[in-house]
Amino acid sequence: MRYTIRVNGRRRVVQSDADTPLLWVLRDDLRLTGSKFGCGIAYCGACTVHLDGVPARACVTPISAVGNAAIVTIEGIGRSHWGRRVKSAWLDLDVMQCGYCQAGQVMTATALLARNPRPTDADIDQAMRNNICRCCTYTRIRAAIKRAAGLPTADTREADHG
């Protein structure tokens, strides 16, 4: 099947079976390898992209289901206001260790801030809990989201419950 999709603002024509996950179209056909393969069952979040601004798991999204949605990947997220702020905060705080999950973390964090520019710790937990970081850089992911939001980065959760 031939599909015309919109990726990072560009129209791309791809030849693919209807059931091929978007992730493999991005990675192997379009050579946009920033989105990562982690689990294949929408459990780890390494493949997170935006479809019309909403985080989606590219590993379980068949190409046939994408339609005319605007796809944004890590390669393109820096062009948005929140994407730029999030990437910059990630570098300022040196969030990553291995870095493999971080494209997905950045995509999810960007979507969070776009709809909730002043997230609480509970908001961050809720939004980010489906993105696994095997290196467990959660401390800095939390702080970087706050920094991108212009909030104090100190972790105040412990004080809340004594």
């Binding site: 192997d28 390669e75 260790q97 809990r129 095997r134 467990c136 401390t139």
Partner: protein, 762 residues
């Protein structure tokens, strides 16, 4: 001289025998004997033979030495020799060189080195990157600086002693002249490099890079989505492959529906590969499998779902977690098969003890679960030479495995080290590398082999499970006077399985007068291997939890008991250097230092004032030359799950934190990694195969479960040591000890999941 026993190798902690390092024919790494009988590997810099017109990253660059090239515009390219697995070595090692070279960090570009003996040992393991390279990498930089100064001195016809370097320039103070490195590099490159041991290193007060918060050098590229990881490799004319192996370890192929698979859309080739040896599964070599090669990975993967393979029936396929536990319980009722260590007379001391405690501890198999699944790209050319692109922690061992399996000279294997999406010890084994090489050989073209997550769970070198039957006797004072561990572990034909050993000097050996460590082996056909802090990631839980039990039974403060056992500050005998590694002596003062620091920061002495249902737990562990004490503050949720409020870590890895950006991150990450293991992680074996298939049944720690982790470094006057591993072990027992303090429930088996399930066993 037994080289094997002395060299440093990532598969093994330095206290165990290992393979000799590969020495270059060019002999830039030389070996010499030390007075203590150890092997000392020394890095020698060759004259810059490649300087004139050598192809480097920047065409006009001059190579000062194999690590350093300088372009006319002053941009310095530094080779990062070790694999980057998230531990930060691609940033740390160039920082050490850049510091002594006296250049500004913003002008430094780090480039990943290929596998090449010119760079000395290249691996990521054993938290050895820092201790092995701390001095040599600074010497490399200082040698470069000295050559640049010499070059300037010759141009100016002045003594080198009148010149000094700073920020990428050489200055001649008396005349006020200055030349940038970019203008000196070609001349410097033609000079004879100094002996590394002859160079003078800076005083720490003059550091401008070491000790500064320095972000990961490739982090911007990761966030731009650049191709850095193994899975991202694209080479011309490349195909994609999957490789189906027996879910029961050691299974051989009887037949498979190969013809049917070949006819599927997008499939270029499908064939059976025969494993290299019957024990290849245990040794993480090439095992039997079916390769499916396609133009796109997804086509190969889809075809794999239609694959039908008949595997040989496995004689020992009844191996299971449950059967291991039953057999271990039976073994623990009798005496140990062998004795690892015996001090004094434990039975006599127990008979005299005021109080005797017995407890049984166990922990499960674990998978590494690197987030980047195993993968490798390989190309075997008609002349038999092999080019590999691999996320590997251990490229040299991989090259040898490929050479041996393909029957070629190791010199014909070229290895590109890609960034690794996590290591944790998994990529010390190179089974995926040899698969890719063999499939590429059979295919005659470049092939990228990629595993899916289930294969990654089903074909690991697992952290071994283990069982400990402890007995201890306390004096009337509460102090332990007798200690026995009957350790039931795993092995193959009488040999302890990889990473399944109990070191004979493991605490409290040497600190309790009558002590015995015995061992019994369960036959295991499942491969095991090192996982982040091998040994420690399991033993700390068992030993440091039982020590806590002893403190409570003896009416002692768990902090005071540990301080008392380790005794007054003193330096115990230093082991001889190994493989160029100056091993710092064990110092009980450093133990005391981190214990007291963590107690102070966590409010340990005020723990009695905590609300009911909240408790503090403490543990200490020494590993990989690092001293780490941790306190966990925890309670129990109404559903019985632990609620972890906060964790404090006090860490002594010497006088200098090379890169605070990476250091704090490593400690916080290791602590949370260990926390996740304690709370949730479990690999189950049934019928000789691993049950868990994906992250839905292997619950890695997530954001909402990650408490604040407060890290404090205690700077002691010792050479800096590594940080990838030592902060992990203490958190497991510290958590369990906190849960005991909070609830009275003692956790003696992992994972915890819910405290309810532990009441019955307590």
């Amino acid at each position: 001289m037994d080289n094997d026993a002395a060299s440093v190798h990532p598969d093994h902690p330095p206290s165990t025998p290992s393979a000799p390092a590969r020495l270059s024919r060019r002999a830039f790494v030389t070996a010499s004997l030390t007075a203590g009988g150890g092997l000392l590997l020394t890095l020698h810099l060759p004259a810059a033979a490649r300087a004139a017109g050598a192809p480097t990253e920047r065409s006009e660059s001059a190579e000062i030495n194999p690590f350093i090239s300088i372009a006319p515009d002053g941009i310095v390219t530094i080779m990062a020799k070790n694999p980057e697995i998230g531990q930060g070595m691609k940033t740390t090692l160039p920082m050490l060189i850049a510091e002594e070279l006296d250049v500004e960090w913003k002008n430094v570009r780090a480039k990943q080195a290929m596998l090449d003996p010119i760079y000395g040992p290249q691996f990521a393991g054993g938290s050895l990157g820092t201790p092995l390279n701390w001095i040599p990498m600074q010497q490399v930089g200082a040698a470069g600086r000295q050559m640049l100064i010499e070059a300037a001195a010759r141009i100016w016809h002045v003594p080198p002693g009148e010149c000094r370097a700073a920020k990428g320039m050489v200055h001649h103070r008396p005349t006020g002249r200055a030349l940038p490195y970019g203008a000196l590099a070609r001349k410097a490159a033609a000079l004879r490099p100094p002996e590394l041991d002859s160079v003078t290193l800076k005083s720490p007060k003059d550091y401008t890079i070491i000790g500064k918060f320095t972000g990961g050098i490739d982090s911007p590229r990761v966030l731009d989505g650049d191709r850095l990881f193994g899975i991202d490799v694209i080479v011309p004319q490349m195909s994609y492959a999957v490789y189906e192996k027996s879910p029961v370890f050691g299974g051989r192929i009887v037949r498979a529906n190969i013809e049917e698979i070949r006819a599927l859309p997008g499939v270029r080739a499908a064939f059976i590969v025969r494993g290299s040896a019957p024990d290849a599964a245990i040794k993480m070599g090439l095992v039997d499998g079916v390769a499916i090669v396609a133009d796109r990975w997804w086509d190969a993967e889809k075809a794999r779902r239609k694959l039908r393979v008949e595997w040989t029936p496995q004689a020992r396929s009844r191996q299971s977690t449950q059967a291991f536990a039953q057999e271990a319980a039976r073994l623990m009722r009798s005496s140990a098969h062998s004795i690892i260590r015996r001090d004094g007379d434990v039975d006599a001391a127990l008979a005299r003890a005021a109080k005797v405690l017995k407890a049984t501890y166990s922990y499960p198999f674990l998978a590494h679960a690197t987030l980047e699944p195993q993968n490798c790209t390989a190309h075997v050319r008609p002349d038999g030479s092999v080019e590999i692109w691999a996320p590997t922690q251990n490229p040299d061992s991989g090259a040898h495995l490929v050479a041996q399996t393909l029957g070629i000279d190791p010199g014909k294997v070229k290895v590109h080290m890609t960034r690794c999406g996590g290591g944790f010890g998994r990529r010390l084994s190179n089974d995926y590398m040899v698969e890719a090489a063999m499939i590429a050989k059979r295919t005659g073209r470049a092939v990228k082999v990629l595993w899916d997550r289930t294969q990654d769970f089903h074909h690991d070198a697992y952290r071994p499970a283990g069982f400990h039957a402890f007995t201890a006797g306390l004096a009337a004072s509460g102090k332990p006077v007798a200690f026995r561990d009957h350790f039931v572990t795993f092995g193959q034909d009488g040999q302890v399985a990889s990473s399944a050993n109990l070191p004979r000097d493991h605490f409290p050996a040497g600190y309790v007068p009558s002590l015995e460590y015995g061992q019994s082996l369960l036959q295991l056909d499942v491969p095991t291997g090192p996982m982040r802090n091998p040994g420690g990631n399991a033993l700390a839980f068992a030993f440091e939890s039982f020590i806590d039990e002893l403190a409570h039974a003896g009416g002692l403060d768990p902090l005071a008991l540990r301080l008392d056992l380790y005794g007054p500050p003193r330096v115990l005998s230093a082991p001889p250097p190994r493989g160029g590694l100056r091993i710092p002596p064990f110092d009980t003062g450093r133990v005391r230092g981190v214990l007291e620091l963590v107690a102070q920061k966590s409010g340990w002495k005020r723990r009695g004032a905590l609300p009911a249902g909240t408790g503090l737990g403490l543990a200490f562990y020494y590993s990989h030359f690092g001293y780490v004490a941790e306190v966990v503050k925890a309670g129990v949720n109404p559903d019985g799950t632990p609620k972890v409020h906060k964790i404090w870590a006090a860490v002594d890895i010497g006088r200098q934190i090379i890169n605070p950006a990476g250091a704090y991150n490593q400690v916080q990450g290791a602590v949370l990694d260990g926390l996740g293991q304690a709370l949730h992680l479990l690999i189950t074996v049934e019928n000789g195969r691993v049950v868990q298939r994906n992250f839905d049944t292997y619950h890695l720690l997530r954001m909402d479960e990650a408490p604040p982790v407060e890290v404090h470094f205690l700077l002691s006057d010792n050479d800096p040591t590594g940080l990838g591993e030592p902060a992990l072990p203490p958190v497991l027992p510290a958590l369990c000890n906190a849960l005991f303090a909070a609830s009275g429930t003692r956790i003696r088996s992992l994972p915890i999941d819910r405290l309810h399930s532990h009441h019955a066993r307590a």
